[in-house]
Amino acid sequence: MPRVNMVQALNMALREEMRRDPRVVVLGEDVGRMGGVFLVTEGLIEEFGEERVIDTPLTEMGIVGVAIGMAMYGLRPVAEIQFIDFIYEAFDQIVNNAAWMRFRSAGMYKVPLVIRGPCCGGIRGGMHHSQSNEAYFIHTPGLYVVMPSRPYDAKGLLKESIRVDDAVIFLEPKSVYRTVREEVPEDDYTIPLGKGRVVREGDDVTLVTWGAMVYVAEKAAELAEKRRGWSVEIIDLRTLFPWDKDLVVSSLEKTGRLVIVHEAWKTLGPGAEISAYIAENHIDLLRGPVKRVASYDTPFPLVHEKLYMPNVARIYRALMEVMEW
């Protein structure tokens, strides 16, 4: 099995799906002859040609709108947004057409589309190359929202996303693109949407997170274990809508304590939904308050980003608050 990084795993997924299904096409800015600014689509144009690997004019509204039309007609497009921060021009298309076409045509038309792109911070990218804006999409009925944290999941989840008959927003934490390597099978495997995974088992507190925060959470958990003897269970949700509530609830049955860590803004971030759901339905499981560690409610800064995003100290503080409550 080859040891690959997330960029290579995503490339494998695209290549395999394009070989398997001639309806799969890739489009976006610089995805063709350049292979994408992060090289996720490297080599695809050589194998599949310009009709299936399409360098587009510079407009996210155009890329997404055209991809929706392609999907409705019978292709299975994968539209790249060069940085997810640039997706806002496409919002009308995403909400009104990608998400709602099935409903507004009473099921006559479907939009089997993947909109994928790099997200999140940690590379000193400033306010337009760092955002974690998943909440906008989670909030919109009709969309799946996915964010892998490691190469193995990236491949399996992207393949599944391409096969799903609804629109999927597929967010790739770019700080992990080349920093994590692991064995990824060359065979055809998929990971179902809506299923999280336990990254680290523990008994005292459940820490729910996703994307690059998985690695920061692991560091904080190790520190908490070493200094205080607390045993932290970490869950990587992987899919943010629908999120794996069964996995979270079964962990809470064991720990009774919940900390949610995400890079998205705190106000109405995904943590708010998870926390509210648990409060509504499983208050009996909780031994103390739910704590959220999120990016502060300001635009993403170019300077001091590591202080702005959840970091080990901030997560440690939240763990203290729930453990010592």
């Binding site: 610089d30 509204m61 921060d85 640039f86 021009e89 502060y296 300001t298 170019l302 202080l307």
Partner: protein, 396 residues
């Protein structure tokens, strides 16, 4: 008041011949090519030579030199890890300088991220630009984003990183100036790639409808990262796009600083007379990488760049100045060396400055911070203390 037959076409009929005539004239400009001097600095169109004194002509050259020297330093500093990202300007100095020079101080500029020459012309110093690029304590934009510049002091609105989203803002500011009875003209600069965005189309459409006093300068540097202009549009020029919005478009040699100056200054005058907007397409070439994060060898040949180097704007203008007896080759080179050592000194000074405070990002989100941010700031301060107690370095 409702008008009868004023707002609609009844009965339907062909457009009057004068419209076709007017549009064929506009078409010639939009598909034409204005240039004052050729690649060897020889005058080819007297009518495009601006009426400037020798001192002003030399000053224009100096601005271009300053832009080029600073560009080189920003590249160097990025390689040293002192600057997060830089978008090289090399080759596009004539468009930036030629656009900003005819503007008045109270005119507004909505630039893109590749216009060092324009900032310098409008009074921004090398020190300020370096403070910005290195996010020192004096960074006027307080660490908000990389590769962009702006300062209300010079009526330069900070460029957006999302390509082209300043275009409707420029239109709106111009309409506001008109409503308020100011004689301000607004200038927006952006690339060929930006012309594909909805913002471009809606910005020009509003400008046409409301006769906004705005000048759009589209820098066609022939690339949008790896995408050549032929993939950006099937139209034969970018200038021609304006015509669909009832706005004149003019295609000009963007490496000819005199032609850019003349055409932009005519467009500004037209806007100042409240006769409407203009789109100027400046044809140029991006000699450098897209940004310091880009490797152009993945998508374009080195030979192409070598050929383009021959047409670069400084050499051409230097030849013109020499032929006019304004500046000798030696004086020109001296100027470059002078600015290089001046900037070196500034760099040394700026490198000594402290960075921005840790809590800077809590500023300027709202005029009056809501309780949410106040609570978050408390958490922030506590987390810094915890990091200290735990002995962990958060920012490595």
């Amino acid at each position: 008041m409702t008008s009868l037959l004023g707002d609609v076409d009844l009965p339907f009929k062909p457009l009057p011949p004068r419209v076709l005539e007017e549009y064929s004239g506009m078409l010639r400009e939009a598909l034409g090519f204005k240039r004052a001097i050729d690649e060897e600095g020889r005058v080819v169109d007297e009518s495009l030579l601006p009426k400037l004194t020798n001192r002003e002509l030399a000053e224009i050259y100096e601005y271009m030199v300053r832009a080029r020297v600073l560009d080189g330093w920003l590249l160097k500093l990025q390689r040293m890890g002192k600057v997060a990202l830089h978008a090289p300007n090399r080759g596009q100095e004539a468009t930036a300088v030629g656009t900003a020079k005819p503007m008045k101080p109270h005119d507004w500029l909505f630039p893109s991220y590749r216009e060092l020459g324009a900032y310098i012309v409008r009074g921004m110093s090398e020190e300020e630009i370096l403070d910005r690029a290195m996010n020192t304590i004096d960074d006027p934009l307080k660490g908000s984003d990389f590769a962009i510049y702006g300062n209300r002091k010079y009526n330069i609105v900070p460029a957006p990183v999302p390509v082209g989203n300043q275009i409707p803002l420029a239109t709106g500011a111009a309409i506001a100036a008109k409503i308020l009875g100011h004689d301000t003209v607004v200038v927006a600069m952006f690339g060929d790639g930006a012309s594909s965005r909805g913002d471009f189309h809606t910005g020009l459409n509003f400008a046409g409808v409301f006769k906004a006093p705005v000048v759009y300068v589209l820098q066609n540097n022939q690339w949008a990262i790896s995408v050549p202009t032929k993939r950006q549009t099937a139209a034969p020029s970018f200038a021609v796009k304006a015509l669909a919005y009832g706005v004149p478009g003019i295609r000009v040699d963007g490496n000819d600083v005199l032609a850019v100056y003349s055409i932009v200054s005519r467009a500004i005058e037209r806007a100042r007379r409240r006769e409407g907007p203009t789109l100027v397409e400046a044809v140029t070439y991006r000699l450098g990488a897209h940004t310091t994060a880009d490797d152009p060898s993945r998508y374009r040949r080195e030979e192409e760049v070598k050929i383009a180097e021959r047409y670069e704007p400084l050499r051409r203008y230097r030849k013109f100045l020499e032929s006019q007896g304004v500046l000798t080759e030696k004086e020109a080179l001296q100027l470059e060396e002078e600015w290089d050592s001046r900037v070196e000194e500034i760099v040394r000074k700026v490198l000594q400055k402290p960075g921005l405070p840790k809590d800077v990002f809590f500023e300027n989100v709202y005029e009056r911070p809501p309780w949410v941010l106040e609570e978050e700031k408390k958490e922030f301060e506590e987390s810094l203390k915890i990091a200290e107690e735990l002995g962990i370095e958060l920012e490595e």
